[in-house]
């Protein structure tokens, strides 16, 4: 009898252990798959890691701001805002004019922001109005809105500029005198206006980040003294930070190319600032109202929250942030195609945030940043991995697109699957939430 009970409990423990492992796997399967895939890709491609780190740093600093601009509409229950394309158009318009006036560097960037903001707000207002009339279909409306305004954008910059809107600039305007040229070159102007404001070597940034991290861990530890679980976390966090610092020092000592990589600190600060702002914003009255509206429009309306107005504000904020994000994107790219650069902004930003684990109804800063990192890692690694695998340049390219879209599809499938699995494992899911 006794032996039986013993067996029973040990089996139970095993089950619990297994459940927690499988719970962890289900909860993070997307991330796990991505990391595995990226590692496999890196291995196969035999890619130079300096190149990878360099590229991922510039891609992350280029795109994070844009992807973060998607969060607020999701919270307000409006889904993924495909209409950020309009914000990008506002940014491009601002950049074109600032380039025309010849304001360069950081002042130029500030001027762009000053110009783009009112335009983005106006566009955001219009979009918000439209979305209020198409509740429940914001995403498809946003996509079509993008197409629609592309027509207007063409009209303005191809037919009006140089004609009705005077612009006398040989470099920007077509030789016929009407219409902006297809490529706008920012070299010597806005290029790196923000990125090069303040840069530090990657290793230095790592050391600083490590020190700050340690300070934070110590602060947390002191604040919550006594809890044994905290102890483990503290040690873990502390170890991570020390590892970062040691690693940075090792890189420095090795004289590897990685130590030459420099980080655009100003851009990163802007991104960090946005993250802080979003976090703070959600705690404000307006942010709380947005969450309420996002949770249940009807209840919000009954509670006296002006739902339509809140939704418009959400879209306007997203639009303004997107226009700033696109300015950051453009100043890093250094040149853009006048009639095409804005097109893909929506789809790729949305893809990135989805991969980070966000859904149409839930998105967090962490998901956005993780998404940018994973999405772009895949895009960096996949082309050469494909080439190495097939030994044929174009098959590699096709393979890359197949993997990229396929992975996004699988990611979505896995998120949905995860949701199902979690509902089947209520105990674990609950434990995870806490």
């Amino acid at each position: 009898m006794k032996a039986d009970t013993g067996l029973e409990t040990s089996r139970k423990v095993q089950i619990d252990y297994w459940q927690s492992v499988s719970g962890f796997l289900t909860n993070n399967m997307v991330t796990i798959m991505f990391v595995a895939l990226s590692m496999a890709g890196l291995y196969i491609s035999g890619m130079n890691s300096t190149l990878y780190i360099n590229d991922i740093i510039s891609r992350v600093s280029r795109n994070s701001f844009l992807v973060l601009s998607l969060i607020i509409p999701v919270i307000a229950g409006m889904g993924l805002n495909f209409s950020i394309v309009l914000g990008a158009m506002a940014a491009q318009a601002a950049v074109i004019f600032v380039t025309h006036w010849g304001v360069a560097g950081f002042p130029g960037i500030l001027l762009c922001v000053a110009l783009a903001t009112p335009m983005a707000m106006a566009l955001g207002y219009l979009t918000g109005k439209l979305f209020n009339k198409t509740k429940g279909q914001e995403m498809i409306s946003g996509l079509i809105m993008g197409f629609f305004f592309a027509g207007i954008y063409w009209f303005i910059f191809l037919q009006l500029v140089g004609g009705i809107i005077p612009m006398d600039n040989e470099v920007l305007v077509l030789s016929s005198g009407v219409g902006i040229r297809t490529t706008v070159d920012l070299t010597g102007g806005l290029k790196y206006g923000l990125d090069h404001l303040y840069r530090l070597p990657l290793t230095t940034v790592m050391i600083i980040a490590g020190c700050l991290g340690i300070a934070y861990q110590v602060y947390r530890f002191v604040k919550a003294a006594g809890d044994s679980f905290r102890n483990i976390r503290f040690i873990f966090g502390f170890a991570c930070m020390v590892a970062v610092i040691v690693w940075a020092l090792m890189i420095r000592a090795s004289g590897s190319m990685v130590s030459n990589i420099r980080v655009p600190v100003a851009t990163w600060l802007a991104i960090a600032g946005l993250c802080l702002f979003i976090t703070f914003f959600l705690k404000t009255k307006l942010g709380h109202d947005m969450r309420t509206v996002g949770q249940d429009r009807h209840v919000a309306a009954v509670a006296g929250i002006p739902v339509d107005r809140i939704r418009i504000i959400a879209i306007m904020m997203s639009m303004v942030l997107a226009s700033w994000g696109h300015i950051i994107f453009l100043q890093n790219m250094g040149a853009f195609s006048t009639y095409g650069s804005h097109e893909s902004i929506g789809i790729y930003a949305v893809a990135a945030i989805l991969i980070g684990g966000a859904s149409v109804t839930r998105a967090t800063i962490g998901q956005a940043l993780l998404g940018v990192f994973l999405f772009h890692t895949l895009f960096i690694v996949a082309p050469s991995a494909g080439r190495q695998l097939f030994g044929d340049a174009q098959v590699g390219e096709y393979f890359r697109v197949f993997v990229a879209f396929g992975v996004i599809g699988v990611t979505l499938a896995m998120h949905a699957w995860k949701r199902r699995l979690q509902s089947k494992l209520p105990a674990v899911a609950k434990a995870e939430k806490e």
């Binding site: 703070f280 914003f281 705690k283 404000t284 009255k285 307006l286 709380h288 109202d289 309420t292 949770q295 249940d296 009807h298 209840v299 919000a300 309306a301 009954v302 509670a303 006296g304 929250i305």
Partner: protein, 529 residues
């Protein structure tokens, strides 16, 4: 003006697209009064309350005629905000709660206490941050007023309905200027003991000088707490009576407009039929209504009632046997083992089910009445269909004929068999569900909450239909939260508590026995806390 009225409505009239739905309603309300408004579904109660609360639906369809006076002053209420600032609060029939928020956040919804933040000094009020400390304190106070012990920072999602209701009420009483509180069918979703708690709370509020408008179907509740009672029928005010001057029977009569006699109990008691359904160790994982290890035997030809408090698992029994929620255990139908978790098999063995979740599970809301009636039989028994080798086609003629017959038989009020079910009233939707279940010609019919959200007239018809079917030889297992309803039609009543059968009683057993079984375990303690 002999008396000082808090709220008066004078000749209020409202029409939608040329159809008058409310005509010349007059209503007077004093401080501390509990005023009940009763009436069948569609009598105009909800419209009246929507007018009072300034809901957008009223004003987007042309407003209303007549006058509303608040404390003697004429008031034009054009938005919920305005209603709130005039001191009118409402506890909605469908909860106006956000499940992912804590109780505090729900109570303080859009009335959050704010404090200055770094940015608010530049950008104004909207960027002030929420002051959770003082919000929690306020919420605590409101909950204490209602004697609710639950923690104010609990998330609303997953709470029993009773607590949700109290959260709503707490929100209203937290409003500092509240003068009139409207309860829109608050007890419809509550179990009996929860409802009793609610009524007690309402009395307490009235004692504090708040006027209460109480909309309900349940006449016994009205008689229990209301001071005055107004009856609406077909958009008109039929009568206003003080409680002392009326009775349940009179009210029912006024409401329905025809004489109502008390439901007659059946006389041909089935005492010893053979066992038609035997349930052994049944467990059902239905969220909120978990069944664990339940045993029950059903005799041929009886009406077996399943009662119990909400959340104790009574609803899970039928859902589990019909394969709608994952279940385990042994179920024997006519001595044969029923494969679980397979709705098709259950239907094949002659089981049919009227779900408690009519709109969610019971109906194809956007399909026609006739399709709703025939589809189960069509899919599982191959009726109403013409076969051409491997191909099949609907037999439109047969379907139409059959649907017309059922519509007539069950008195489904509709424009025709092709009308979309969504447009029907709750009672008629329920009749469509019954029609579908009947089309299957089941041996055993499971019925869950057959009268929930249905007006008195239809309620009676539904119950009568069940009795008639039973007399024709159908075994019926009826789950209901309304004990009186069970006692009026059932042969035996099983009370489910904690996921198992606590006991089986005869409908004639004393109230005390029922009460003890239902409150048997800790449930009683929890609810009275």
């Amino acid at each position: 003006m002999s008396e000082h009225y808090l709220l008066q409505m004078k000749n209020v009239t409202k029409s939608y697209y040329g159809t008058t739905v409310l005509k010349d309603i007059n209503l007077d309300l004093k401080a501390g009064e509990i005023h009940a408004i009763v009436g069948e579904n569609g009598a105009g109660k909800s419209t009246l309350m929507n007018i009072l609360f300034g809901m957008p639906v009223i004003h987007s369809t042309g407003g209303y005629q007549g006058e509303i006076l608040i404390e003697g002053q004429p008031a034009q209420i054009t938005s919920p905000q305005q209603a709130m600032s005039s001191g009118i609060g409402m506890v909605h029939q469908e909860f106006m709660l956000i499940p992912n928020y804590s109780i505090t956040e729900n109570i303080k919804l859009n009335r959050e206490t704010l404090k200055h933040s770094f940015l608010s000094r530049f950008f104004g009020r909207n960027l002030k941050t929420l002051d959770f400390k003082s919000m929690h304190a306020d919420a605590r106070k409101a909950l204490d007023t209602l004697d609710i012990g639950i923690e104010e920072y609990t998330r609303v999602a997953g709470l029993p309905v009773g607590y949700m209701q109290f959260t709503e009420i707490a929100r209203e009483i937290d409003k500092t200027n509240i003068k009139v509180l409207v309860f829109d069918e608050p007890t419809a979703v509550l179990a009996e003991s929860e409802a009793a708690n609610l009524l007690a709370a309402m009395k307490k509020l009235a004692a504090r000088g708040i006027a209460i408008l109480f909309i309900t179907h349940r006449l016994d509740e009205v008689m229990e707490i209301a001071d005055n009672i107004t009856v609406l029928r077909d958009g008109r005010l039929v009568a206003t009576r003080p409680k002392e001057a009326t009775s349940v029977y009179e009210l029912a009569e006024l409401m329905v407009g025809r004489k109502v006699e008390k439901m007659t109990r059946r006389t041909d008691q089935v005492s010893s039929g053979n066992i038609v359904l035997s349930i052994k160790d049944l467990s059902v994982r239905m969220p909120g209504e978990v069944v664990s290890g339940l045993n029950l035997e059903v005799r041929r030809g009886e009406i077996l009632g399943i009662g119990g408090l909400a959340g104790q698992g009574k609803v899970g029994v039928a859902n589990g046997i019909m394969g709608l929620y994952p279940s385990s255990g042994t179920v024997l139908v006519n001595g044969e083992k029923l494969p679980l978790n397979n709705p098709r098999e259950s239907i094949k063995r002659g089981l049919a089910f009227l779900s408690e979740d009519r709109r969610g599970v019971g109906l194809l809301l956007d399909s026609s009445i006739e399709m709703n009636i025939v589809i189960s039989s069509l899919q599982n028994q191959g009726r109403f269909i013409r076969r051409f080798g491997p191909f099949s086609q609907l037999n439109s003629k047969e379907i139409r004929g059959y649907a017309l017959k059922m519509i007539k038989e069950l008195d489904i009020r509709c424009t025709g068999p092709t009308q979309i079910v969504r447009r029907l009233s709750g009672g008629n939707q329920q009749k469509v569900c019954i029609a579908r279940a009947l089309t299957l010609n089941p041996d055993i019919l499971f019925v869950s909450e057959p009268t929930r959200g249905i007006d008195v007239g239809a309620k009676r018809l539904v119950l009568e239909t069940l009795v008639r079917l039973n007399e024709q030889g159908m075994t019926i297992i009826m789950t209901s939260s309304e004990l009186a309803e069970l006692r009026s039609v059932c042969d035996r009543i099983a009370i489910v508590t904690g996921g198992t059968v606590a006991g089986i009683l005869s409908p004639d057993d004393s109230d005390v026995n029922f009460g003890l079984l239902m409150a048997g375990q800790k449930a009683g303690k929890e609810l009275s806390a």
